[in-house]
């Protein structure tokens, strides 16, 4: 019997409870604001730290990179582009395999099939090619991967022929060297992230996608993969290299690998960026701070979405540290342009350093945020401000708990009944309601939204299949399904509260449960995807703290409007609109439909959790808050 079960038992704990109940409504908003200010301040240069190498075995950039075969690279690029022009509808696997075979590497094909789950359920086939360069003087126990996605002309993404040509040229150069201690796998994938996910699933014999993705088995392997680099080269002249880090569900690669990519680009005098933005020349100034802050927010937006920004995201799931290097020619970027040879030397330098490793990456950070290419905010720096922002939820939950009646104290009940008979005051926050806990009234308010969320998530796929028979495109079906659920569920309070309306203690209990659930969501999400947790906390804390029954109708209306603004559906629509500010409304809606369908497919095939969490946790939470506002 401690504070939790009988909060009003002892004298001192009763005093503590009273202090908390009295001051919490003031303290929580203050802590929220302080946390937000602290977090935003972390983007300022003196308040974060510079990246450094923790793994000394990397010896990055110490060796002179000697790749100089630029003419071979140009010849390969030209041949590949001619091949692609001849066969625009297929991936030129025969050409790629012939090139690798001529170099003496072991070349293998890999076929995979995807049974598309939505709509009419078509079947997609794909094929990857990979070539293994065996280490000349050591056993094939470890491997490094250099992968490039092949994009056909006409694909939505920019062409990537230069990267495939670089793979062949680098394979030729690497083959002549004697210093490789690990096997090197050159992987050319099809269908963007699907090809890589399938290859890795087959390599590790781990099924992905609950039977939707049939990856088969690989004819040849190369040992335990230690690290991987994904290459996307959009043009033969390079203005800058963007180092992409965000992986599936916000997982990030080891900071040593990211730092190494930036360091070696810097050594070869190639401009390197993070989030597509180079560093501000004067980071201590106010303009510098704004620049860093914007870079930080970009990273948080892409980490919160949970979709990998490049093929490297799928390697991270297997503990293989990976980054994507995207080299492009941006007219707006000042500075000299580099050629493909420079980029090849960067890759050579990275592979020489990775070759030095005896252990997997384990020294440096796995949880961080980067406001600039050479700065990082570690988990130790961003967790305290996050905790401040979110602590209001916990404090309010505690306050609601303390205000609940004490079911064991019959004396108190009689006292309260006596007080009630005299005449009770309404709306006083310190009043102790005297009824026992109304579980029968509160339970449906909690279970019904959760059941609705679960049914929604499970029912989206059958819905698309049903509507596809009626001729609806899948995107529109998903959009319509979610919109219907969102709008229809607004009536939920009327249904659950009709039979047994909530008393005051019922409302308190429901608030307590809602706040605890929200706290649970954000604090656990903060452990592995801080951006998502922080965004949800920032938007939901003020709403959750103020979501209660208001006796006056205008206050209720205002609360409803605020709640509608943070509805998960509204939020994702706003996110899509913010991501493409120049589009007209129709285009935004079309993009939103596509985004929802893609989120669903990602959830089913790759295991991206954003849609799942939004449907099964966030939507029920929102509905509970809606019930609280409308439970009178």
């Amino acid at each position: 019997m401690g504070l939790l079960t009988s909060p009003t038992a002892g004298g001192s704990s009763k005093k503590f409870a009273n202090i908390l109940i009295k001051w919490e409504p003031v303290v929580s908003p203050l802590l929220y604001i302080a946390g937000i200010i602290w977090f935003l301040a972390l983007a300022y240069h003196p308040y974060n730290a510079g990246t450094y190498f923790s793994e000394n075995a990397l010896l990055p950039g110490l060796v002179t990179n000697e790749f100089s075969d630029g003419s071979e690279l140009a010849r390969l690029l030209k041949a590949l582009e001619a091949e692609a022009a001849d066969h625009p509808d297929t991936v030129p696997h025969p050409w790629i395999r012939a090139q690798f075979r001529q170099l003496g590497l072991q070349v293998y094909p890999h076929n995979f099939t995807l049974r598309y789950p939505l709509g009419n359920g078509s079947v997609f086939h794909g094929e990857n090619t990979y070539a293994v360069l065996r280490a000349p003087r050591s056993g094939s126990t470890e491997a490094l991967v250099l992968s490039a996605p092949y994009r056909r002309p006409g694909a939505p993404h920019p062409p990537n022929h230069a990267a495939v040509a670089m793979l062949v040229a680098l394979a030729k150069y690497f083959r002549r060297q004697v210093y490789w201690a690990k096997d090197i796998v050159f992987l050319v994938t099809e269908h963007e992230q699907l090809g890589v996910a399938a290859w890795l699933s087959a390599y590790h014999q781990q099924p992905v996608g609950h039977g939707l993705l049939d990856a088969g088995d690989l004819p040849g392997r190369a040992g335990s993969i230690q690290a991987a680099i994904n290459l996307e080269v959009e043009s033969a002249t390079v203005s800058h290299v963007d180092v992409l880090v965000e992986g599936l569900n916000g997982q990030l690669p080891n900071l040593d690998l990211v730092k190494m990519a930036h360091w070696i680009c810097h050594q070869e005098h190639i401009q390197h960026t993070t989030q597509g933005r180079a560093d501000h020349p004067r980071p201590h100034s106010e303009a510098g701070y704004r620049h860093s802050l914007q870079t930080l927010l970009h990273m948080m937006a892409s980490q919160a979405a949970g979709t990998p920004t490049g093929n490297h995201g799928h390697y991270l799931r297997y503990g293989i540290q990976a980054v994507t290097l995207r080299a492009l020619d941006d007219r707006a970027m000042p500075g000299p342009r580099s050629g493909l040879s420079h980029l090849a030397r960067v890759l050579e330098g990275m592979f020489r350093s990775l070759n030095n490793l005896l252990e997997r990456f384990h020294q440096s950070f796995f949880f961080y945020l980067m406001p600039a290419t050479g700065r990082y905010i570690s988990i130790g720096l961003y967790m305290p401000p996050f905790a401040l922002v979110a602590i209001g939820i916990v404090l309010r939950a505690l306050t609601c708990w303390l205000r609940l009646p004490d079911t064991d104290d019959s004396e108190r009940q009689q006292e309260a009944e006596g007080a009630e008979s005299v005449g009770k005051k309404g709306g006083d926050a310190c009043d102790r309601p005297s009824e026992p806990w109304p579980l029968a009234a509160v339970l449906p308010c909690v279970l019904a939204p959760h059941a609705l969320g679960a049914v929604t998530l499970a029912g989206l796929v059958p819905l698309t299949q049903l509507l596809a028979a009626a001729g609806w495109p899948t995107e529109r079906a998903v959009f319509a399904g979610l919109l219907t659920v969102s709008v229809g569920s607004l009536l939920l309070p009327a249904i659950t509260n009709r039979r047994s309306p909530l008393s005051e203690s019922g409302r308190l209990l429901l608030r307590c449960v809602t706040l605890i659930e929200l706290g649970l969501l954000v604090f656990t999400a903060a452990l592995f995807n801080i951006s998502l947790a922080l965004i949800v906390t920032t938007l939901y804390t003020p709403v959750a703290l103020s979501a209660r029954y208001y006796s006056s109708a205008p206050a209720r209306l205002l609360a409803s409007l605020c709640l509608l603004l943070v509805h998960p559906f509204t939020l994702q629509l706003a996110a899509v609109a913010l991501g493409a500010p120049a589009l007209a409304w129709r285009a935004v809606l079309a993009a939103d439909q596509r985004a929802l369908a893609v989120a669903l497919v990602d959830s089913l095939v790759y295991g991206a959790r954003l849609l799942d969490v939004a449907c099964t946790v966030l939507l029920p939470l929102w509905l509970q808050m809606w019930t609280l506002v409308h439970c009178g």
Partner: protein
């Protein structure tokens, strides 16, 4: 300036020369010019790989090796031998790292030297160590006739000298580089003293401060030639005259040129080597 190969015992982890990462297989260079392969055919590695452990080093120093150990792997020194011990690698305050798995502490080393003294396995020891915080390793010595030099003090790091950018590694440390430089300029008849050698690599060259322990050494290092420890030079004069060494007491002078035939006096007592592996039965 050389010590004959069969007077050298070399213990290496030996994972560099034939490492798959070595761009010049089977070679080890100590200079970026890559002129001399120090892992050449005249190098004999006595202990390599898994044999290089703290236990093996202590057994080697104290002589407690298995009966099957060949003589080339034994430290066959006696009470007139001057022993040079050079250690390098990763170290810290009071320890030197062995092979990523264990460490030898300064106390262990000091005790090993004391055992050597009690067994009369050395006349003088010259101890050189090039690691980080190297001076901590000689702090605990308590046996006589030891002269020690270390590349850095406690709290200081010993630094590498230069990078070979075609190999991608730092090939030699600052103190060892300057010590070798000093050695390469010596000849067999050089008059340089140990004090000169102890002054090698001052602060402005080594960045770390070279430490010296000379309180256990009975003579002034300035009076000791470097060739006493390096080069095993002995001044030999050939004669075919008989030398009378007397009766063993100090009053009869030594005379030269007289044929004397006396029985050698019986020794007062005799020393005997203790059995290397005590029989415990």
């Amino acid at each position: 300036m050389l010590i004959v190969v069969n007077h050298i015992i070399l213990m290496l982890a030996d994972d560099m020369a034939c490492n798959p990462r070595n761009p010049r297989p089977a070679t080890v260079f100590n200079n970026a010019n890559q002129h001399i392969n120090v892992y050449g055919s005249d190098v004999e590695v006595d202990y390599r790989g898994d044999e290089v452990t703290v236990e093996r080093l202590v057994r080697l120093l104290t002589g407690r090796l298995e009966p099957s150990t060949p003589p080339t792997k034994r430290l066959l020194t006696d009470d007139r031998s001057n022993v040079l011990i050079y250690m390098t690698g990763h170290g810290g305050d009071g320890f030197l790292k062995f092979q990523d798995a264990e460490e030898i502490t300064s106390t262990e080393l000091a005790d090993a030297f004391e055992q050597m003294w009690q067994q009369r396995r050395y006349n003088n020891i010259f101890f050189m160590i090039d690691t980080c915080q190297a001076a901590s390793m000689y702090e605990k010595f308590y046996s006589p006739n030891i002269l020690a030099v270390a590349s850095s003090q406690v709290g200081e790091d010993s630094l590498s000298h230069h990078l070979d950018s075609s190999l991608g590694v730092y090939v030699i440390d600052k103190y060892t580089y300057h010590a070798l430089d000093f050695m390469e300029k010596l000849r067999k008849d050089s008059k340089k003293s140990m004090a000169d050698f102890l002054r090698v690599c001052p602060r402005h060259q080594c960045v770390s401060t070279v430490g010296v322990r000379s309180d256990l050494f009975p003579r002034n290092p300035a009076d000791v030639r470097v060739t006493e420890f390096f080069g095993s030079v002995r001044h030999v004069e050939r004669t075919d005259r008989l030398v009378d060494l007397g009766d063993g007491d100090t009053e009869t002078p030594v005379t030269v040129g007289t044929r004397v035939e006396t029985a050698a006096p019986a020794p007062a007592g005799s020393y005997r080597y203790v059995a290397q592996f005590p029989v415990m039965s």
